[in-house]
């Protein structure tokens, strides 16, 4: 089928050259392909024809704009797979409590944990993680608004190779761009704190659609913020009917048990899948 207009194969059986001319002129052109009168617009370098344009000037590309990122993400996935690491891409807006939540999580997870921290500037977050005893690499993106798979790949080699490690990638605080970049992770988790407003999932649907689990954080502050936790959950499910939700407070420890159980179940699931291969 024609990729430009959806028409069928362009062929005509018979074709002759009798037409009226106001003035006479010669008809010398190459008839090599005209033997049967068939016309095929799919030949030539482009494999396609656009009216009014010389065919040799149209080049088909058909490549995803994320092609390069996808290449690095696949390499990361292989690296992580070979070591049996479970990788969680943790995303949220700035100030939702990702780092505090991570510190509290590291204290409760039994096995080895490693962290990649993404921020535009400073190593504050990696310093906080290292204070828990877990290895952490800080990536500063400068002007960048998200981590990409290439940046993560550069950090992976510096994180040791303990089998069964849970790797957390704390993405740049941003509810928009990180959603578009595959880092090679097993699961995406979004942190949404109750101070941010119930309509955040509706305003930034891509982020919440791309995540398997939402951690509704700082629920200890809910009574002081005039918020409706049911509405938070309804809006999360409005943009992602399949999303799992855990109400949590890194400060009081509410919900932490459930979150750590979720992580451990994911790690077991991954180990089972790898053993079956």
């Amino acid at each position: 089928m024609c990729t430009m207009c959806g028409c069928g194969v362009v062929t005509i059986g018979q074709h002759d050259h009798s037409h009226d001319h106001g003035r006479s002129h010669g008809h010398s052109h190459d008839h090599g392909a005209h033997q049967t009168g068939d016309l095929h617009f799919g030949h030539g370098p482009a494999g396609i024809e656009v009216p009014g344009m010389s065919q040799s000037r149209l080049i088909e590309i058909e490549t995803s704009i994320f092609h390069k990122n996808a290449f690095y993400a696949a390499a990361n996935r292989t690296w992580l797979h070979q070591r049996g690491w479970l990788t969680v891409n943790l995303m949220s807006s700035p100030g939702s409590g990702k780092t505090t939540l991570l510190c509290a999580t590291i204290d409760r997870v039994g096995g080895p944990v490693a962290v990649i921290e993404g921020d535009q500037q400073t190593s504050n977050d990696a310093d906080r993680i290292r204070a828990t005893g877990a290895p952490a690499i800080q990536i500063n993106t400068g002007k960048g608004c998200h981590l990409d798979a290439h940046m993560v790949g550069r950090a992976l080699g510096q994180l040791g190779s303990d089998p069964g490690t849970i790797l957390f990638i704390e993405n740049v605080g941003n509810l928009v761009c990180p959603a578009a970049f595959d880092l090679g992770e097993d699961a995406r988790v979004v942190v949404l704190s109750v101070t941010e407003g119930e309509d955040k999932p509706l305003k930034y649907p891509d982020m919440f659609t791309s995540c398997r689990l939402a951690l509704l954080n700082k629920i200890d502050l809910a009574p002081y913020c005039d918020v409706d936790l049911e509405l938070y959950e309804a809006n999360l499910r409005r943009v992602n009917p399949l999303i799992e939700i855990i109400r949590i407070s890194a400060r009081t420890g509410d919900g932490m048990k459930q979150w750590v159980a979720w992580l451990e179940a994911e790690a077991r699931g991954k180990a089972r899948r790898q053993a079956a291969e």
């Binding site: 088909e60 995803s64 704009i65 390069k68 608004c145 998200h146 509706l202």
Partner: protein, 113 residues
């Protein structure tokens, strides 16, 4: 900022395609973007002009082709077409829609001199 890094990725793809085809200049590039791809045409055009400076695509026209979005409705269990990410299901009016297609972002083709 996001559009900027997208376009930076495109620059390599376009230049190597132009090199392979022995083309000195890129005149026009067509991009297919799904209705949910969250790409802002103005930001894309701005980033395009900035990033392509000094490349074979400097001054080239960027053409955006928007493809329809498709989602699965968890109320009526049908795949439906919607224009906006938060539109209700056109069949049953339900609101539990999971996007299936429409977030793609591809370089379709380019015209060269």
């Amino acid at each position: 900022m996001h559009e900027l890094s997208l376009i930076e990725g495109m620059r390599d793809i376009l230049e190597s395609a132009a090199d392979r085809n022995c083309s000195a200049r890129i005149l026009r590039v067509r991009i297919e973007a799904g209705a949910f791809s969250a790409v802002e045409p103005d930001a894309l055009t701005f980033a395009w002009e900035v990033v392509m400076r000094g490349s074979k695509a400097e001054g080239a026209v960027l053409e955006l082709i928007v493809l329809p979005g498709r989602a699965f409705c968890y109320d009526c269990l049908q795949t439906v077409q919607i224009d906006q990410r938060l539109d209700p299901c056109p069949l049953c009016g339900g609101g539990k829609l999971m996007p299936e297609a429409g977030d793609a972002l591809r370089i379709k083709n380019m015209e060269v001199a």
